[in-house]
């Protein structure tokens, strides 16, 4: 178990460093096992240096920067063992438009290379504009969910009249 965790840590850390540079357009970051020499007892800390800024632990970064660093970690684990399905439930909530675009670029590339299928729940128009198909969920009758398949035009109307 110790050897497996060590090897997983090496792979995930390598992916994490690349994904961080890509999502932040520069800078650097790394994972580190802290608090114990035995990996099975240690903690995992994230150190990150956004471009032009000082190196710091995750807690000193902004809300959006912390989200992007965590997304880099999630996909570093994913790329270490790619699964046939990936579900993302509102991971883009704290992000600005530029970061939403970068995350969508990453999703498109992963979907291309690993043939993974993605289910992406979001309220961001920009994210929905990048989807290959869109489903709407409504509760026309209170408490009862219905699924409808939408074309692109409809989906924007959907976001608008979400009332």
């Amino acid at each position: 178990a110790r050897a497996r965790l060590n090897s997983a840590f090496e792979h995930v850390n390598a992916h994490f460093q690349n994904l961080f540079k890509r999502l932040f357009m520069g800078g650097q970051a790394h994972l580190s096992l802290v608090d114990s020499d035995d990996p099975l007892d240690a903690g995992l800390e994230i150190f990150a240096q956004p471009p032009g800024k000082a190196l710091q632990a995750l807690s000193l970064m902004s809300g959006g920067e912390q989200t992007m660093a965590s997304i880099a970690l999630i996909f570093a684990m994913f790329l270490t063992n790619p699964a046939p399905i990936c579900v993302l439930d509102e991971i883009d909530a704290p992000l600005d438009d530029a970061n939403v675009d970068k995350v969508c670029d990453l999703l498109e590339e992963i979907a291309e290379t690993t043939k993974t299928r993605f289910l992406v729940v979001s309220h961001h128009r920009l994210t929905m504009a990048r989807m290959h198909r869109i489903y709407g969920v409504t509760m026309a009758e209170k408490g009862v969910s219905q699924l409808v398949s939408l074309d692109m035009q409809q989906s924007f109307g959907f976001l608008e009249e979400a009332a």
Binding site: R117, F118, S145
Partner: protein, 168 residues
């Protein structure tokens, strides 16, 4: 092995039979707050063998059964069927000759839940083994539920290492 479709019947707020096609690439899911988006994607985790009611945001596992509204009575069972496309014949052994693999989970009030693989009864363990070999399953780090990113940010280093271990 591809995930092809999900069919819900009486699962949480989806009282009517609902079919979700899982196509190639990116499938978006939109809708107002509280309309059932998270319920829909939770049906996938549940069918893949999720055993913790807390991870399904409930008190007990029966909280996934349609609980009724002002106009409709509660149901007494919930069922979800997940269809996998095995045309590439990459599934693990007893299933690898099949074209499609249907995994279903059904929970009946006061009777617990039962799994089936292509119509034949199966144990939770069989279903979990099937998904473990395909690097997915209820505990896969690729299922990022709502709030999971925030919990990684606020987690103590020890808890973050445990997330890494799950993915190893």
């Amino acid at each position: 092995l591809h995930f092809k479709s999900l069919r819900l019947n009486g699962f949480k707020s989806f009282i009517e039979k609902t079919d979700l096609e899982i196509g190639v690439g990116l499938t978006g899911i939109v809708g107002p707050n509280g309309c059932g988006k998270s319920n829909l994607v939770e049906a996938l985790r549940w069918t893949m063998g999720e055993s913790s009611a807390k991870k399904m945001r409930g008190g007990g596992m029966e909280d996934v059964i349609f609980a009724g509204t002002e106009k409709r009575p509660a149901r007494n069972f919930a069922e979800v069927v997940l269809t996998l496309d095995n045309a590439a014949k990459s599934a693990p052994s007893p299933y690898n000759h099949l074209d499609d693999i249907e995994i279903s989970r059904k929970i009946v009030k006061d009777q617990g839940s039962a799994y089936r693989i292509n119509g034949r009864p199966a144990r939770a363990k069989d279903v979990q083994m099937l998904f473990a070999d395909t690097l997915s399953g209820a505990n896969s780090p690729a299922l990022v539920s709502q709030g999971k990113v925030a919990s990684i940010i606020n987690a103590k280093p020890l808890q973050r290492r445990m997330i890494l271990e799950e993915s190893a």
